[in-house]
């Protein structure tokens, strides 16, 4: 398995790249470290959306899992007193996974706009519940302030940064191996012609269910990582439809060309937002939206298409 992963060009380069990033993190000023960390966390969710997108599905409701992950972390700390990063992170993935598995039975039967809207509806149900319940923090949410790693309470954010980098490498490698497997190759096949896939003897519904579950787990992981990196959860920043929209935004901006693209796109997004906010406090949304328009018009393949071309020959086999 490990050698299989190392033989994959994308994974090999990603591991090297992320290792360099982790090393660079030691020297980076805190604000850059924070923004990269937020970008990586969001990138995990975008990676899940990429899998769905390649299948031809766009979910406008992955904030549901992002929020479940984030709230799992926050509630576990607030009511359970759990501070361990591994436990909180595991809980985020499990909670999102359970919900993703159950809702998958419904959503796997829908395509296109129906899939998008139904997933949006489910996410807004969670939003409504959170806003109305004071025990769940209502609109104010909670702080997540304690992060320990196996009993050790680190000073500063760097250890958490390394943890998130490691998570991203593992997630990215797993998705890359999945996409190269037989089931993974069905991804684009389903988008192109569902009926043919069925005639080949595969269950489209089941294949979509697996992808949906994977994307839910990734979004849950992203929410959990975000909650720990940011130190705060609340419905508007974690569960609202705007969060789902942001994730779709980053997916389009990144491009579906590679499993590395979501992370690059998400980090770029964080910096665009930071600078837009700094330059135009009254019109920063305009700059962020304008960027997306520009990318759709001039770079239909997303940011990845800029990086892809020089490497196109070597990477062709990875699709």
């Amino acid at each position: 398995m490990v050698s299989m992963a190392w033989n994959d060009k994308t994974i090999r380069w990603a591991i090297i790249g992320f290792a360099l990033l982790a090393a660079a993190g030691w020297l980076l000023p805190t604000w850059i470290l924070n923004n990269v960390m937020f970008g990586l966390a969001r990138g995990l969710a975008v990676l899940g959306l990429l899998v769905l997108w390649r299948t031809g599905l766009v979910s406008f409701g992955h904030a549901l899992y992002f929020g479940l992950g984030a709230y799992a972390v926050a509630l576990l700390e607030k009511y359970g007193g759990v501070t361990d990063v591994f436990l909180k992170f595991g809980a985020a993935i499990i909670v999102a996974g359970v919900f993703g598995f159950l809702l998958g039975f419904v959503l796997r039967n829908y395509r296109a706009i129906f899939f998008a809207m139904l997933s949006l509806a489910f996410s807004m149900v969670l939003y409504g519940v959170l806003v109305k319940m004071e025990v769940l923090g209502s609109t104010d949410g909670f702080s997540v302030t304690q992060n320990t790693i196996l009993g050790w309470k680190p000073d500063g954010k760097y250890p958490l940064f390394c943890f998130i980098v490691l998570t991203c490498v593992i997630a990215l490698s797993a998705v890359q191996l999945y996409l190269k497997s037989a089931l993974g190759h069905l991804t684009t096949a389903i988008r192109d012609n569902e009926l043919r896939v069925e005639y080949l003897g595969y269950s489209v519904a089941r294949a979509i269910h697996v992808k949906y579950l994977a994307s839910a787990c990734l979004a849950g992981a992203a929410g959990g990582a975000m909650a720990m990196a940011l130190g705060q959860v609340d419905p508007d920043s974690m569960v609202n439809w705007t969060v789902s929209g942001e994730l779709v935004f980053i997916t389009i901006m990144s491009g579906a060309g590679s499993v590395v693209a979501p992370f690059i796109g998400a980090i770029v997004f964080e910096f665009i937002r930071t600078y837009a906010f700094e330059l135009a406090p009254q019109a920063w949304q305009l700059i962020v939206g304008g960027t997306l328009l520009a990318i759709i018009f001039f770079l239909p393949g997303g940011i990845w298409s800029l990086l892809e071309k020089p490497w196109a020959k070597g990477e062709a086999d990875n699709g």
Binding site: D140, G141, Q232, D236, Q285
Partner: protein, 437 residues
């Protein structure tokens, strides 16, 4: 070659470290300008009624302090002699985004302090980060008592009293003015501010007038719903005559306009805790006889108060922005002023430009004459302000063609806030022991 390079790098690092250590322990270096982040809603629904009036209030006072044109006793120019360069930032986009932006202000743009914040949610979210980053932060508007009651704070101050007093003062006011009412109900937005506002009003009413019946059907529509037909019908059918609302901005305007055409204000006595912006924006259309609060000695309630500082503020604000200053204008101006007073006092004491610790020591427990009235940082070990909170009854002034208020009554801090060291909810539940009214 490479070993020489290593030595050079090593020496530079050592020298730099020594220099940094010297700077950290020595006296602060005098500055010509200080950079201060000022956060308020510049976009979204809260920008019109809160964010922009707040920003303007801060801007007006900062410019006056930089130029030394504030009336006595604050005529000395600058903040400990330094000019303030305000960095206005947008508070919208959710708590998580604000935490990120707060970090950017402190870690990337290196501000000397952060002032502002309107939403309770934002204040709760950035407070732990302010403590973590050890940056002096003065909250201006937000109301939740949780900021200081859940934990002791070192670097965070709030120049606005917390929201429990607004609800207690509202209950006391209606009991003073409208004694024999057949009960009360409410319409509040279904989020933390609305839920808390009605909860504290409800408990106070139960404690002070146990025979006044609480409605079993208070309304909690979604925030920014905009359409309140159903809620207005339900409230109209309710026998309760008093209707408490903490609506603000577009919601209070929509509610008032929709209630007006249904003759709601003829049958009901509405008590609005923060609807002040609608009184000005609706003008003649705003009904007479509504009990209106401004969360302190601010805005509509002190518009004609004859004190030099207040007159200066109202006149200058009107001249520059062509509108009357609203509650948030006063609240932001008050934070800026408190920061200046603390900086000046600390500079005098230290005999030079003050460090952050010296400024914080001067700010702790500060009592000052602000634009609307006196404010004292007397709760939470000198970090949380108290000041009187009042209500008045709206009336359109036909001669001046502008809104006015009558029957203004302010309640002293001792009457509406839990004494230092007690949690507001516990104090209320115990029946407000020791309240001096």
């Amino acid at each position: 070659m490479s070993s020489n390079l290593f030595k050079l790098v090593g020496r530079t690092v050592l020298a730099g470290g020594a220099l940094a250590a010297m700077v950290a322990t020595g006296p602060a270096i005098a500055k010509d300008t200080i950079n201060v982040g000022i956060a308020s809603f510049l976009t979204g629904p809260a920008a019109g009624p809160f964010g922009v009036p707040g920003r303007n209030g801060a801007e007006l006072v900062i410019d006056a302090i930089n130029a030394g044109t504030l009336p006595a006793p604050y005529a000395k120019a600058g903040f400990a002699g330094a000019k303030m360069n305000p960095i206005f930032v947008d508070e919208s986009g959710g708590n998580a985004k604000q935490v990120g932006e707060y970090r950017n202000l402190v870690e990337k743009r290196g501000v000397d302090a952060v002032l502002g914040y309107i939403s309770s949610g934002t204040c709760m979210a950035i407070t732990p980060v302010a403590e973590e980053l050890k940056k002096l932060t003065v909250l201006s508007v937000c109301g939740t008592p949780r900021v200081f009651e859940e934990s002791n704070r070192t670097y965070v101050f709030r120049t606005q009293a917390h929201a429990v007093g607004d609800s207690i003062a509202a209950a006391r006011y209606v009991l003073d003015k409208f004694k024999d009412q057949k009960g009360y109900t409410g319409i509040n937005q279904n989020y933390a501010w609305g839920q808390d506002s009605y909860k504290f009003f409800d408990i106070t009413m139960k404690k002070l007038a146990a025979d006044t019946k609480a409605s079993d059907n208070p309304q909690f529509p979604k925030i920014f719903a905009g359409q309140y037909g159903t809620e207005i019908s339900t409230l109209s059918l309710d026998p309760a005559k008093l209707v408490h609302t903490s609506f603000w901005g577009g919601d209070i305007e929509a509610f008032v306009l929709q209630a007006l055409v249904r003759g709601f204000f003829k049958d009901k006595q509405v008590i609005s805790s923060v609807g002040g912006s609608a009184v000005d924006s609706l003008g003649k259309k705003f009904p007479d006889g509504v009990v209106m609060g401004t969360r302190g000695e601010y805005g509509l309630l002190v518009r004609n108060k004859d004190e030099p500082l207040n007159k200066w503020f109202v006149n200058e604000y009107k001249k520059r922005y062509n509108a009357y200053p609203l509650g948030p204008s006063y609240q932001y101006a008050s934070s800026v002023l408190a920061y200046k007073i603390a900086m000046d006092a600390a500079a005098e004491k230290a005999g030079g430009f003050p460090t952050q610790d010296q400024t914080m020591a001067a700010l702790k427990g500060l009592s000052w004459q602000s634009f609307g009235g006196k404010v004292s940082l007397s709760l939470a070990d000198g970090h949380q302000a108290v000041h009187p909170v009042g209500y008045g009854i709206t009336k359109w002034d036909k001669d001046k063609k502008e809104p006015s208020v009558s029957d203004v009554k302010f309640y002293a801090p001792g009457c509406i806030y839990a004494p230092a060291g007690q949690k507001s909810a516990d104090w209320l539940a115990a029946g407000m022991p020791g309240a001096k009214c």
